[in-house]
């Protein structure tokens, strides 16, 4: 007797799939994993989200999940020491830290019973995002790894959010700031070109359903150097770039 996993249900003692996808078995547990779904959060995931609402003691964050996530005032680092007590003034000043429309990077702290995620930014890596480019891909393409923050050799840094949002920014914009202040200095054109090229690389990788990691993005970036930035997304050129990328990924795996 098989037990019902995700994507299945029982009907008159028959196990029936409720989604179209790939069957996965773990002993007697049978799951069906659909190819496209919205993001299913897990504790420890790095996510990128957009503030949709400022409430009392918490922000609501759109993380492309099934419900808006929650960022509690008590799970952010406020300026002036980590162990500061949160006062009524802090609640009133919440909109000064993060307001509607701001992009943040955060980590999933816990999951509520209805599936909503609770986030935290209690590390200097997380916090408000300043100048950069956001790319949306399918969450299934992001490989889980030890770190999702990468400084690329090309002189840009990338955040691969587990929820399928990828953030590209100039390397020296210092994610380490982690705070609520963003650097609004104009970004030099050379760095913008690097970021635009990376953006196009991420787009073609995602379009051909190649998993995104710092290695695959770097290889794709290097393979794209022979072409102009605006040509990368053209079908025949992207095929060529991806062929080279795939080859190098295979070689690397051995």
């Amino acid at each position: 007797m098989a037990s019902t996993g995700h994507g299945t249900y029982t009907d008159d003692e028959h196990l029936v799939a409720s989604v179209a996808g790939v069957v996965e078995r773990v002993n007697r547990l049978i799951c069906v994993r659909p190819l496209n779904t919205r993001y299913n959060g897990e504790i420890g995931d790095v996510v990128i989200g957009r503030i949709t609402e400022v409430q009392q003691k918490r922000w609501k964050v759109d993380t492309e999940s099934r419900l808006d996530s929650v960022l509690l005032l008590s799970s952010v680092n406020l300026p002036g020491g980590e162990l500061r007590r949160r006062s009524a003034e802090d609640e009133l000043a919440m909109r000064d830290y993060l307001k509607e429309g701001d992009l943040i990077s955060a980590e999933v702290q816990s999951i509520f019973s209805d599936g909503a995620l609770s986030l935290h930014t209690r590390s200097l890596r997380y916090g408000k995002l300043g100048q950069g480019v956001l790319v949306k891909v399918s969450p299934s393409l992001i490989l889980r790894s030890k770190t999702h923050f990468h400084h690329l050799a090309s002189g840009a840094s990338i955040i691969l959010g587990n929820n399928g949002l990828v953030w590209l920014q100039p390397a020296n914009s210092a994610v380490e700031a982690g705070g609520f202040v963003t650097d609004l200095e104009p970004v030099p054109i050379s760095e913008r070109e690097v970021i635009s090229r990376l953006r196009n690389c991420v787009i073609i990788l995602a379009h051909h359903r190649l998993a995104l990691s710092d290695t695959s993005v770097t290889y794709c970036y290097e393979a794209s150097m022979a072409h102009e930035i605006k040509d990368i997304t053209k079908p025949e050129i992207s095929e060529e770039i991806l062929l080279e990328t795939r080859q190098r990924l295979l070689e690397q795996r051995g």
């Binding site: 249900y9 989604v19 179209a20 190819l35 496209n36 919205r38 949709t52 759109d62 419900l67 359903r209």
Partner: protein, 243 residues
């Protein structure tokens, strides 16, 4: 019937089909990249585009949220160029609102909404070319879009319209047959369990004929199910071929 013979003595209909013959089904999944799920489905000359987004946080007033299941929000519209005479309002007229309501009823039974409390699933369907059986094409297109979005369904929802002429049920009526004014029944079926998700009947049909018409509709829906599930399997195999 004035002039038009809907069923010839040889048993052929105006477009050359037999009484129990469906029109050709063509369907493509995932036609729009930025939506969670989308499908373009064509049944004969009727073509519909369905787009699904969700499950996501309730948009608009929060009071709509249900604590134990998801809200299903449907919108039906007809492109201004979909009919022979140009339409003034693509959506929002009485007929579209009724159709949206019908779609919502249909899909609330089929989607496993209890898995997504406090969230919302949007289904937008637009008729791009109209040649009879609009409701049924919308239901089939929306089912395919839901499958593409990976939303758990109890079963495929297959819908088919059946007319009744000369004591014979005509399966999957086209515009000419619909406009002739005879009875037309639209049935949406969950084929595996043969549960009826939706049923409507325009104009009068004698009780004695009801079971015959229902039977023809059931068979047609099962045929459609076979076609749709084949298309889904082919699409999946193509997508997973590289893995």
């Amino acid at each position: 019937m004035a002039g038009v013979e809907l069923l010839s003595d040889q048993g052929y209909r105006v477009d050359g089909r037999r009484a129990s013959e469906l029109r050709r089904v063509q369907c493509r999944l995932g036609v729009l990249g930025q939506a969670d799920g989308s499908a373009l489905l064509q049944l004969g000359n009727t073509r519909a585009l369905a787009v699904v987004s969700g499950p996501h946080e309730i948009r608009g007033s929060k009071s709509k949220a249900l604590h134990d299941r998801a809200v299903v929000n449907c919108q039906y519209s007809m492109a201004t160029f979909s009919t022979a005479e140009r339409k003034r309002r693509p959506h929002g007229d009485r007929k579209s609102i009724e159709m949206s309501l019908h779609l919502r009823q249909t899909f609330e039974t089929a989607i496993l909404t209890q898995l997504f409390p406090r969230s919302q699933i949007d289904i937008f369907v637009q008729i791009l070319k109209s040649d009879g059986g609009n409701y049924c094409v919308c239901v089939n297109a929306a089912t395919m879009a839901l499958v593409d979005a990976g939303i758990p369904l109890q079963d495929y929802v297959c819908a088919c319209s059946v007319g009744f002429v000369d004591e014979t049920p005509l399966v999957d009526v086209c515009y000419a047959e619909e406009a002739a004014g005879g009875p037309v029944m639209a049935v949406a079926l969950l084929p595996r369990s043969e549960q009826v998700a939706f049923l409507s009947l325009d104009s009068r049909l004698h009780e004695d004929h009801l079971s015959g018409v229902m039977k023809a509709a059931t068979v047609a829906c099962r045929d459609l199910h076979a076609v749709l599930s084949r298309i889904v399997k082919e699409t999946l195999q193509e997508a997973t071929a590289g893995e």
